[in-house]
Subunit: 143 residues, 2 copies
């Protein structure tokens, strides 16, 4: 099995609020938008984020797992400076996110970061990580 992720899909209680936050609030461009079912956004080369109606998410798993909400996962977006961490968090809050952790030095990894929660409970970390970069071939390098 190749070391490759193609989709990340979240059980979404309110697709309308997801559309309002990502499309209207952040200005993101949906790859596909199926009202009442799912909204897809491309978020990396070859990678799609899917916001999937929570009832259908459960159906798709044969209802073996009843989703009470999203937990235990964080999505991270890196920016170029500490100041940009703060301004990005402000922008997310203005678009309807709840601030969980204001911009500050992180406990791990020598980063400066903060966390917000989107209208459906998905946690995003906004971080400036001086020890991280992406090479021109897409390879991530630490340190």
């Amino acid at each position: 099995m190749d070391q490759q992720l193609h989709f990340i899909t979240f059980a979404t209680q309110d697709l309308g609020r997801a559309r309002g936050f990502y499309k209207d609030g952040l200005g993101w461009d949906p790859l596909m938008d199926v009202p009442g079912e799912i909204i897809f956004f491309q978020v990396a080369p070859g990678l799609v984020l899917g916001l999937f109606d929570a009832v259908k998410f459960d159906q798709d798993l044969n209802n073996q797992e009843k989703t009470l909400g999203v937990s235990g996962v964080t999505l991270s977006h890196n920016v170029g400076s500490a100041a940009e961490v703060s301004s990005t968090i402000e922008r997310l809050a203005a678009a309807g996110a709840t601030i969980l952790k204001p911009a500050q030095a992180g406990a791990f990894g020598g980063i400066f970061h903060g966390h917000v929660k989107d209208p459906n409970g998905i946690i995003w970390e906004i971080a400036h990580n001086p020890g991280w970069r992406i090479n021109s071939d897409g390879k991530v390098v630490f340190g």
Copy 2:
């Protein structure tokens, strides 16, 4: 805010079982492995999957959210045929995954797929999706 995801991080109850599954079982190559803290795997161009000790995951969020486990999220890996869906699910099960949904036609999107759960409860979908492709520039195309 660019439409870009850089890290996806999961609260992980047992890092040793995560290492055993992804590194030893699937043969994936860690980008970085900090025992007792986090294991990183690159899973797309510019994108890293982090398996983060659950206690530290909570600390990093200022303990505002107590993680009881991962829920409401699925990671998907696409393969080239229905037969490869079945064989990949068998390989994941042999490496220690639990099968949630055996390989079958999906209810949504015209795909053939199945779901497994890794040793820490992270759900993976293995899918063959004839209506999906990645262009050479990394852009995902549906239909």
